[in-house]
Subunit: 302 residues, 2 copies
């Protein structure tokens, strides 16, 4: 088992105001609701959080605002991976200074032809320049978006070189065999699945847990699977969790999640996405909501 207590983290949405800047109040409310509804932690500024659509300054200000609103830094993981290493350094250093030790780092994702050595040297430079033993760095493996990927060979080199600071991986391939493979191959790392689609099976196999977009809506249900995974009844909960996730996978994920939150909470502020993403049309949101109600899944308002 890669870690004694499995965790469910939500990859938080980033709520926006009408002018598409980050809505700090709604953000703090949402993060607190996710924690209250059973999440062990919250990932800020992952793909679901539209991270790369914000400037470094906006991302730093939003984190500061959340902490000022009383969110405990120990409950947070922050996405900090940019194309430019100095930006990744700034964001990571900033998080560490504020007491957030878990960071999720994309590879530099513009140059698709970077070599394995080049990627290794990027992460080595990052960790060495931070020079902070409190760092808990998670590799963000999401080849569908980043295209640049972490091969098992690259992960092995980094884990061997930085055993104290390379903490784990978020595997957003959605490929269960790949996640299982990483978990078996790297017992010293916390390998998180990128969705809750096979959470039960993964926890039973000793997996660290999941960091998922849909957990913005399914936190309570995912928490039940986490808490009861050793019990036979958990299979019914997982079926429900997988069925809900499957409905979301028919739509553009972020627009669907924000659209549903807007409809459930009656708070139209949830409808805004940063360009180049667009909100989901109201008919599709209604269709989505209908499909979920047929599963007897109301979701949960903040």
């Amino acid at each position: 088992m890669s870690q004694p207590v499995p965790e469910v983290l939500a990859a938080s949405l980033t709520p926006l105001t009408a002018d598409k800047s980050i809505d700090n109040d709604r953000y703090a409310g949402h993060v607190n609701a996710l924690l209250k509804n059973g999440c062990d932690g919250v990932l800020l500024f992952g793909t679901t959080g539209e991270a790369n659509s914000f400037t470094v300054t906006e991302r730093q200000a939003a984190l500061e605002s959340l902490l000022e609103a009383g969110v405990a830094p120990s409950t947070l993981m922050v996405g900090t991976g940019c194309c430019a290493l100095p930006d990744t350094l700034s964001l990571t250093r900033h998080a560490l200074e504020l007491g957030v030790h878990r960071v999720l780092v994309l590879p530099p994702f513009y140059y698709k032809n970077a070599s394995e050595d080049g990627l290794f040297n990027t992460f080595a430079a990052l960790i060495e320049q931070l020079d902070n033993p409190a760092l808990r760095l998670y590799l963000y493996h999401f080849p569908k978006m980043a295209v640049v990927a972490f091969t098992p060979e690259l992960i092995a080199r980094l884990a061997e070189r930085f055993p104290g600071q390379l903490a784990g991986i978020k595997d957003s391939t959605g490929n269960r065999e790949h996640t299982m493979m990483l978990n078996s191959r790297f017992p010293s790392l916390e390998v998180f699945a990128g969705s809750e689609m096979f959470l039960l099976e993964y926890l039973r196999a000793g997996g660290a847990g999941c960091i998922s977009a849909t957990t913005n809506l399914t936190a309570s249900l995912a928490a039940v699977v986490r808490d009861h995974y050793h019990l036979p009844d958990a299979e019914l909960d997982q079926q429900q969790l997988s069925a809900v996730r499957s409905v979301f996978e028919r739509y553009p994920m972020i627009g669907a999640l924000k659209g549903l939150l807007a409809m459930q909470t009656g708070d139209s502020g949830w409808e805004h996405l940063r360009l180049p993403l667009s909100n989901l049309d109201k008919d599709s949101v209604a269709e989505l909501r209908h499909a979920l109600s047929e599963l007897n899944f109301p979701g949960q308002a903040d």
Copy 2:
């Protein structure tokens, strides 16, 4: 013909100091040499310029430094496309304020599933928020790196909506048929080929010219083809140009160009690349140089 006077632009390398910050002196020297050697203009911070490996602040400071060194803003085109629209806005507004009107803009390239409407709205927001009639915006089509692409339909929508400010396209597909197609389909736009591989044929077909990485070394030769394209003798020059380009295409382009410049000038400062890219090993540089000398192509030192 899309424009009366065809142009050859070099996609400039960005020289670095040993600590991998931008070497402003060497940068100004290189840009001036490219202009002196026959380039009509120089693109700063394209893919060859390692644009996305620098912060917004670094890019702005480097442009200011070049202009302070006496480079004329009318000779420059600047790459300004980032993942975050506010960063693209900052870089573009900064260039315009300094009198550089030509900007080359990548699509927001993190979200690979952005819709055509989302991309259209991103560029519409950019152009409308800049609200500057002097803007000459070129779309940077480089699907191999950005993955997010400009479809002809998207280009047509933007050209129709912003006839004054949408100036053209850099087509970095390397696909001659695709460049020819864009040039035929959009007679009101300047469609630049992303390499000089088929420059002669393209100029004879009425193309706007090229913006190319290898022109960092082949400026004089490309200028001859540009100046003599209506003469039969230009075919020999194009053969030489294509042969040289073909040699470079065997290697990682930026490392090869910087490595060759370092060897030719004796200035080891040219060897530095920003992570995640790496310099080319010395044996490969020597092999590259040998292959070029067999073509009787010495390249040109700054």
